[in-house]
């Protein structure tokens, strides 16, 4: 057993690492570690005025600061029924373009390109690739300049406020931006051909689900009221939780997201996959020229997608400036007086879908939920690293694993500060486990394994539920009663998803039900002792990734054969949920 | 001295003529009720109906931050890029008088080339005004001008009476004499005298500055200073908006990649904490009360003792700027034993009350 890891991911924003554990010829585990500590930003924003939150929340991240600003404004303005005029929206779009250009050019030229040209950093690369470094720096500077002109400064600008802007920029500054964007065009086109023609390795290709905002009206863009998935599904902003079921992962202060129990990807590549057909002008032509099957499954094409988006922005900026200048009599700030409401703001940050949700009561923020792109990508980052590592291992190219993982992680352009801002999950609805469980059961036919000791009070619940499930006619239910049964359990269920039923001490209220991916539970030191090695030993990474643990908080683990009333109540709820699912499945099968 | 007449409609044509060879600075509106001096190209921006600018016109001569020179180990190159031909139009009497005081400061012992050169290249075109409740200039006797201007415009109904205060002012008139006429009628004179009388009567704020040096001496250890110090936010605003404050700091700004430094001059304020800090970290006036005492002693005692008049021109800027109402009016009145209504006063009462509790 050995571990290959990148302790400190370089040339990414924030503090993180990636590691793969290898057992012989098998990869048993891949972890995207986030060392950045917990900042509890959402907790900090609760109890503050909406105006304070507009200033505080973007501090989550420096590089996505204006995406956060746009998202918090969209959410709060929705909550407070503030209708901002067209000019304000156009100016916000312009500043967003600044951020996209700044962030993308920083990423592709200065952070990612050295990988492909074989340098440790961009400055070292400058000696031979002078023009590329210069274009990168100038482009980034231009993006920054736009951000500063509209938002007030490079990072954490305070000019955008609820209802509009503190101050509108001067006409001459806007005209300068317009003409500069036009001057840049030849270099932008060079950028697109450079990154779209780069030789991206085929490992790790694999299909995934792409998610991004739908800007509506058949247009390309960076915000909208709906989430569009590459399978054609569409989710309204307010139902964002359907997409992002966040889980706490013990090896990271960032939370991971799954859609219907499966990882998905967000970011430039997701946008180009989902919305690329909508690009027109030069960007549209380049899309038609370069887009192919690889873009649909290779995360390394994030770099190419970012280059295409830079082109889109440079084409869009002159149009935006023209429209902004047309509108001269717009008030700077729209007054508002509403004190209550809730709203969700969807924005495409440079690295993907960003969701801000606010609830406001008596003029103070009462609930906040922020879901960042990197938190959503974390699962796919691990998955793609797993695929790459396994493939390279199979092909006997073990020496390439470390660099390839590095390449994959960096392609996602992860923003670690963002992801570690911490979302609020477990505090959510107490019966959230039901919907999670239902989702799994709709898509999979898992085996159930009841664990526990029926002589030790509430520790018996696992066995108890298992027995009852069997009695109710549920197939493939196993009990941790004897080693014999366990052996045949592993034999007949190799590779299948497993749902473990057990009493687990989450230090919650007794009787609380928690449903977690097994992987997370195993990485958690306070939970791991609950599983004897023979229970989880034969599990391979692939199976591990698909398996879950359904735990009930025990009240007492004293010797004895009685189960506490609150735990019994929870047991009934679990059984009912499982039974109703069973009925639905049966009904479904009968129909067939 | 000569006085000529200018029809109102001839003002812009006149400005047009004189601004050909110099930058024209004039008051423009920044907020609904606040003005600033700005180099104007479009004369429609000029707003002569203003009370006082946020920062006095000394800013035009010596901006808050200027580069004095660039130095290497053995060379230095002076930077006079701020010196250019300028005309400041629309300065009120108090500010004209303040510039006279500034002239004296910067030529007092040594000539300050950065100020003097800028000043030599600047013409002052004063403009008449009407007092509001904060104008103290009648008490400081700076509501009229006797020196320090090249032209001074007094607004009548349809005309301006233009005082010519210097030969350079006269040169300006001569650029297009046809715009002016010299036949000032008896009626014009009467209108002017009436306006002047009414203006004299319109002043509301008043302080007796004659007694100030003695009062400050007598009350040097008065608890008043501690009270002021307790409330003072030490924001430095009173100093930065004062038209006769002139202290500055000098610091090095090394140039990256070159063995050279820019030597920068920056406004400083004795009301700020690090003003009195010296090498070694010692600070003579860490206490806010001591710093305020220094400021007021300078304005109301030292200068009067030396020149017979205060270093305050009554412009009222400290009155409209200080968030806690520490200003020449409330401090002066308190020194004279009058009761004042000011935040710093109420704050001290409240703190005392709470301590007693």
């Amino acid at each position: 057993m050995k571990t290959i890891s990148v302790e400190h991911l370089c040339r990414v924003e924030g503090n993180g690492g990636i590691s793969a554990t290898i057992d012989g010829k098998k990869v048993t585990e891949v972890k995207f570690n986030i060392y950045e500590g917990p900042r509890l930003i959402e907790q900090l924003t609760i109890g503050r005025t909406p105006e304070e939150d507009v200033s505080l929340a973007p501090r989550i991240c420096a590089i996505c600061t204006l995406s956060h600003k746009n998202a918090v404004l969209r959410a709060i303005e929705k909550a407070l029924s503030v209708k901002v005029p067209k000019k304000t929206i156009l100016m916000r779009e312009l500043m967003h373009m600044g951020e996209i250009i700044e962030s993308h050019s920083l990423h592709i030229f200065l952070l990612a390109l050295p990988d492909y040209l074989g340098y440790p950093n961009a400055i070292a690369m400058a000696a031979k690739y002078d023009l590329e470094v210069k274009i990168g720096l100038e482009m980034k500077n231009f993006g920054n300049h736009i951000m500063k002109t509209i938002s007030g400064r490079y990072i954490h600008g305070e000019n955008p406020v609820i209802g509009g802007f503190g101050k509108f920029p001067d006409k001459k500054d806007l005209l300068w931006i317009k003409s500069r964007a036009q001057q840049f065009m030849p270099f932008v086109l060079k950028t697109v051909s450079l990154f779209c023609e780069l030789d991206y390795p085929e490992i790790p290709e694999d299909e995934t689900l792409y998610a991004c905002c739908d800007p509506g009206n058949g247009k390309f863009g960076f915000w909208g009221e709906k989430i569009l998935l590459s399978n054609g599904e569409s989710i309204p902003a307010d139902d964002y939780k359907k997409l992002t079921n966040e889980f706490v992962v013990s090896h990271s202060y960032a939370k991971h997201s799954l859609y219907k129990g499966k990882p998905y990807s967000v970011g430039a590549l997701a946008r180009i996959n989902n919305l690329g057909e909508r690009l027109d002008g030069e960007a549209g032509r380049k899309f038609k020229k370069y887009f192919n099957e690889h873009w649909k499954k290779n995360p390394l094409y994030h770099n190419a997608a970012q280059a295409l988006e830079i082109l889109y922005c440079f084409e869009r900026i002159p149009v935006l400036v023209k429209k902004i200048l047309k509108d001269e009599n717009t008030p700077k700030i729209i007054p508002y007086s509403v004190k209550e409401g809730k709203g969700t703001g969807l924005v495409e940050a440079p690295r993907g879908l960003l969701i801000h949700h606010y609830e406001i009561k008596n003029g103070l923020v009462s609930n906040v939920d922020i879901i960042t792109p990197t938190a959503q990508n974390a699962e796919d980052i691990e998955r793609y690293c797993y695929i790459a590592t396994q493939k390279l291992l199979d092909e006997g190219q073990e020496e390439k694993i470390r660099d390839r993982m590095d390449l994959v992680v960096r392609a996602f352009d992860p923003c670690i500060s963002c992801s570690a801002h911490s979302a609020q999950v477990r505090q959510g609805k107490t019966d959230e486990w039901k919907s999670k469980l239902e989702t799994i059961l709709t898509h999979e036919e898992p085996a159930f394994l009841g664990i526990g000791n029926f002589r030790q009070g509430d520790d018996a619940v696992g066995i108890f539920i298992g027995k009852q499930l069997r009695d109710a006619g549920q197939k493939n239910v196993w009990l941790e009663s004897s080693t014999n049964e366990m052996e045949s359990f592993w034999k007949s269920n190799a590779g299948k998803p497993v749902i473990f039923l057990d009493a687990i001490d989450f230090q919650e209220k007794p009787g609380t039900v928690t449903f977690l991916p097994l992987l997370y539970a195993l990485n958690n030191s306070s939970l791991v002792h609950k599983f004897s090695p023979f229970v989880t030993g034969p599990l391979k990474y692939n199976q591990l990734k698909k398996s879950y643990i359904l735990g009930i908080q025990p009240a007492s683990l004293k010797r004895g054969k009685t189960i506490s009333p609150c735990v019994k109540k929870a047991t009934r709820e679990v059984l009912e949920t499982l039974k109703s699912r069973q009925k639905k499945n049966r009904h479904f099968k009968d129909k067939e | 001295m000569r006085i000529v007449k200018l029809k109102k409609e001839n003002l812009f044509p006149f400005l047009e003529v004189i601004s050909k060879e110099a930058d024209l600075w004039a008051p423009v509106k920044k907020y609904e009720d606040k003005h600033v001096f700005k180099a104007v190209e479009d004369f429609s921006e000029i707003d002569l109906d203003y009370q006082r600018t946020i920062i006095p016109p000394r800013r035009i001569l010596l901006p808050p931050k200027t580069n004095m020179f660039e130095a290497t180990q053995n060379t230095y190159k002076e930077d006079f890029s701020n010196v250019s031909k300028k005309i400041i139009f629309g300065i009120h009497a108090c500010d004209v008088n303040a510039l006279v005081i500034m002239d004296r400061f910067y030529n007092f012992a040594y000539d300050d080339p950065y100020y003097t050169r800028a000043r030599e290249n600047t013409l002052i075109l004063g403009y008449s005004c009407w007092p509001d409740e904060h104008c103290l200039c009648k008490s400081t006797n700076t509501h009229i001008v006797t020196e320090g201007y090249d032209l001074f415009f007094s607004k009548l109904d349809t005309h301006y009476l233009v005082w010519i205060g210097s030969s350079q002012g006269d040169d300006l008139i001569r650029k297009q004499p046809s715009l002016f006429n010299e036949d000032i009628s008896d009626k014009d004179i009467q209108t002017y005298l009436n306006w002047q009388k009414e203006r004299e009567d319109a002043f509301q704020a008043e302080i007796d500055f004659i007694d100030m040096p003695d009062l400050i001496e007598l009350k040097y250890n008065d608890p008043l200073w501690e009270e002021l110090g307790k409330a003072c936010l030490a924001c430095g605003s009173c100093t930065n908006v004062c038209p006769t404050c002139n202290c500055y700091n000098v610091y090095d700004k090394p140039i990256l990649g070159k063995n050279a430094s820019k030597i920068v001059r920056c406004w400083d304020a004795c009301t700020l904490e690090n003003y009195s800090e010296v090498a070694g970290g010692e600070n003579f006036r860490e206490n806010r009360a001591d710093r305020l005492k220094l400021w007021y002693t300078h304005k109301l005692q030292a200068y009067i003792s030396k020149y017979g008049k205060p270093a305050c021109v009554g412009c009222g800027r400290c009155i409209v700027s200080c968030p806690v109402d520490i200003n020449v009016l409330t401090v002066g009145k308190t020194l004279s034993g009058e009761k004042v209504d000011a935040f710093w006063k109420r704050f001290n009462l409240q703190v005392k009350k709470e301590v007693r509790k």
Binding site: R39, K167, R426 | A234, L256, A269, F347
Partner: protein, 260 residues
């Protein structure tokens, strides 16, 4: 010449990485920066990092995990000069606002549940001077470009940096802004370190205090002033606390006492 270059390390603890990013934002000076100094470690910008003895370490971010405490102590040991850059390093950042460890624990549980982190244990956010001696402070959220360049160039040439002890009001007045506090708007300019260029007030918006609290700021007077102007006491306190990290704890405690 090569050997005489100062060895510099730029480190990020927990924060938004804005201060390191701002250094990268000095596009026009970036090559000069890399030429003038021997940048040994800068994880955000390069991958050939060396962790050895340093002349100057620039540290951004607050200390939020046990791993970071160790990392920080190690940096201190290796460096002649340690500079705290940015609000998180200088005062602890917005995340250091919880003064009561009990409250922090509760909040942490709310967000992450009772899960125990396997990779590194979390601790309550603190500025870096809670654990090590700091030679210089460069405040800001994030630090300013010009301020950073002056500071950096001075320190490279062996000159001690200028101490900044002025409130935002000084630059605000240089920029000829009208005083918002005087107008009755809750502006924290007088209590906040200068250096941002009074950017918010230039945009007609009140100072939020993001450069961190001015050590000598007269909080008591402004507190009463705002109270007199009709602001809710709790609101004033929250506003003052938002960007003050752990640094105005005694003032806030004093207010709590008064209430009782």
């Amino acid at each position: 010449m090569e050997n005489s270059k100062l060895k510099i390390g730029i480190y990020e603890l927990t924060g938004c990485a804005g201060d390191a990013l701002l250094i990268l934002d000095c596009e026009k000076e970036l090559i000069d920066i890399f030429n003038a100094a021997d940048i040994q470690s800068f994880v955000m910008a390069k991958s050939d990092n060396i962790e050895g003895d340093l002349d100057i370490a620039l540290v951004e971010g607050s200390v939020t995990t046990e791993k970071e405490i160790e990392e920080l102590k190690d940096i201190r040991q290796r460096s002649k000069i340690v500079v705290a850059i940015g609000l998180c390093a200088t005062v602890g950042g917005i995340q250091a606002r919880f003064l009561d460890p009990k409250e922090w624990n509760e909040r942490f549980k709310k967000v992450y549940g009772n899960i125990e982190m396997t990779h590194t244990k979390p601790v309550q956010s603190k500025p870096i001077d809670a654990y090590i001696d700091v030679d210089f402070y460069l405040p800001g959220c994030p630090i300013g470009k010009e301020q950073f360049l002056i500071f950096f160039t001075r320190i490279l040439k062996g000159n001690p940096p200028e101490k900044s002890q002025n409130p935002v009001c000084v630059t605000c007045k240089y920029n000829e802004n009208d005083c918002l506090l005087k107008k009755g708007i809750l502006c924290l300019g007088p209590l906040t370190e200068d250096g941002c260029g009074a950017i918010c007030i230039n945009h007609n918006l009140p100072c939020a205090g993001c450069w961190g609290p001015l050590k000598t700021g007269n909080r008591t007077s402004e507190y009463y002033l705002l109270k007199e102007k009709g602001f809710d006491v709790e609101h004033i306190k929250k506003k003052m606390a938002n960007y003050s990290g752990t640094k105005i704890a005694s003032f806030l405690k004093e207010l709590e006492k008064e209430k009782k």
